[in-house]
Amino acid sequence: MRVPEAARLDTLHTAETPEGIALSLRPAGVMARCLAWLLDFLVRAVLFVIIAIAGRAFGGLGTALLLIAFFALEWLYPVVFELSRSGATPGKRAMGLRVVMDSGLPVTPAASFIRNLLRTVDFLPAMYAAAVATMLLRDDSKRLGDLAAGTLVVFVDVAQLHGEPPLAEPRAPSRPLLPAEQMAIVSLAGRAKRLTPERFDELATFALPVLGGLDSGASASQRLLGVAQWVLGRRREGERA
């Protein structure tokens, strides 16, 4: 079910593929990205210290190595990791993030280069203030570099709120259900395992008028699960679908 843009509460970003399906991208917010940056900063600092210690043995050549490493860690580190298969720097990977194009495709070299060069502007006036301001102002949490490059930083994994509706004795509803009603009942049944039994029962009572089977003495939640199974297409022995 597609919900109109203005009515939505979440920041889901959909990208249509050539096959005509909509990919759901979940942009990562300021907090996750700041933590990812912090982790990356630590990784870079550790690498720099290691190179500095190793470089001591080589005199002038070591200093050269150190300066080049400083340059590479500042400018090339994010590009190299974003173009790898994971599409994320170690910090982003630890936070479960990756960089993708607006279309949901893996990030291209040009886009990665752009978004990381423009870090300089995002950093202004101090400590990524411009980036944080832009990210807070936008639903898709893009910083300036992301805007110019056409990239998104998204969560890799989806939170699994819905499971399979638990098995129950199929039970016909008391009247034919509208598609939206069917969907609501099956969705609630899908969340049965994440709710406490009491809360689930409480929610199920809202659906009592359509649940039927008043005579059987079963609880509201049992009857709701039964109707959900019936909607999914399960029937009692000998009953026709």
């Binding site: 002038g60 150190l66 300066l67 040009a110 870090r119 899908g190 297409g233």
Partner: protein, 344 residues
């Protein structure tokens, strides 16, 4: 069709695709044609499942699966040496020429302050103190004078390497910042261009007036071909970003910025290359005092010609009539006569 029947009928395909994707993600050999076919089928199933409001766990499984397959199927494969060669031989000079108006503005923003400051510092040795402090001037004078501290006099290979590292960190960083600063309506790039122009011009003019013309010019002539071009090019790319955002034309501002950045970043690849060469030349060639100044001027002139010819001429598409004159002219004339015959 109920959700249960749907799942029963197609779940084997989904499991198969899951297995294929898992194999492909581990970079093992996989059947690409089969993967694509399965992917298209599962896309259909996802569309159906969404349209029929099937249970969320079902659509979520299909969404996750198609998303993984999508990432694999639309991955770019054209990286590698051929792509790099094409970038260097065609794309970079073409992109530079596509930015010629920005390049003109950027050159003026850099060269005019350079000439003015150079002239002023040459006329009035005190002028340089308006730009930099006295100790910096002394440092420069030591570097380019004939004294013991002079550049290249007491330098061994170690120092050369050290300077190479420094030039990479400092100069390429300046080039990159000069591009990024353009996002601020081009003001940042313009500022950095003018600022660098004033400094280089002022110090150059001062050193020439102080009688170090030979040492200074023979030092800078070769690497300036790459370094100054690199800075001016990064400024041009930055101005492009700023202008795209200020005057978006028929695009939205963000769309216009995106398109400009995609075009300008090719110029930045060129800047990266040029400044890398500049760093190497500056560290290992410019500072070599054993090379006579005349050789350096010759090499410097050759480098300037090379850079300008590369940016101006390399990678142009062959013009009709210029390359294969007889063949193309006959073919055009035949097509013209054919055309007129058809018209009759």
């Amino acid at each position: 069709m109920t959700p249960l029947q749907f799942e029963a009928a197609y779940a084997p395909l989904w499991t198969e695709l899951e297995a294929e994707v898992a194999v492909a993600e581990k970079r093992r050999r996989f059947d690409g044609a089969r993967l694509a076919t399965l992917y298209r089928r599962v896309c259909e199933h996802l569309a159906l499942a969404q349209a029929r409001a099937y249970p969320v766990h079902l659509t979520q499984r299909l969404e996750a699966l198609t998303q993984r397959a999508h990432q694999l199927i639309y991955r770019r494969h054209d990286y590698g040496l051929a792509r790099l060669a094409n970038l260097v031989l065609v794309d970079i000079p073409e992109a530079v020429r596509a930015h010629r108006m920005y390049l003109l503005v950027s050159t003026l923003l850099f060269a005019l302050p350079l000439l003015v400051a150079g002239w002023a510092a040459w006329r009035d040795p005190g002028f340089i103190l308006r730009l930099v402090d006295a100790s910096t001037v002394q440092g420069f004078e030591g570097m380019y004078g004939d004294g013991a501290e002079a550049l290249g006099r007491h330098r061994d290979a170690d120092d050369d390497w050290q300077m190479f590292g420094y030039y990479i960190m400092n100069n390429i960083g300046i080039g990159f910042r000069c591009f990024a600063a353009g996002l601020a309506a081009g003001v940042g790039s313009a500022f950095l261009l003018v600022y660098n122009g004033l400094h280089i011009g002022g110090i150059g003019g001062y050193l020439i007036a102080a009688g170090h013309a030979g040492n200074f010019l023979s030092f800078v002539v070769t690497h300036s071909a790459f370094e100054l071009t690199g800075i001016v090019l990064s400024g041009a790319a930055g101005l492009r970003l700023g202008w795209a955002w200020m005057a978006p034309g028929r695009h939205t501002r963000i769309e216009s910025l995106r398109l400009a950045a995609r075009a300008a970043v090719v110029v930045m690849y060129g800047v990266f290359g040029l400044l890398l060469i500049a760093a190497a030349v500056e560290a290992f060639w410019s500072s070599a005092r054993w090379v006579s100044p005349m050789v350096k001027y010759g090499a410097g002139a050759a480098c300037w010609v090379l850079v300008i010819a590369y940016l101006g001429l390399q990678g142009r598409p062959r013009r009709e009539g210029a390359g294969g004159v007889p063949l193309s002219s006959t073919s055009t004339s035949t097509s013209v006569s054919n055309g007129s015959a058809d018209a009759r």
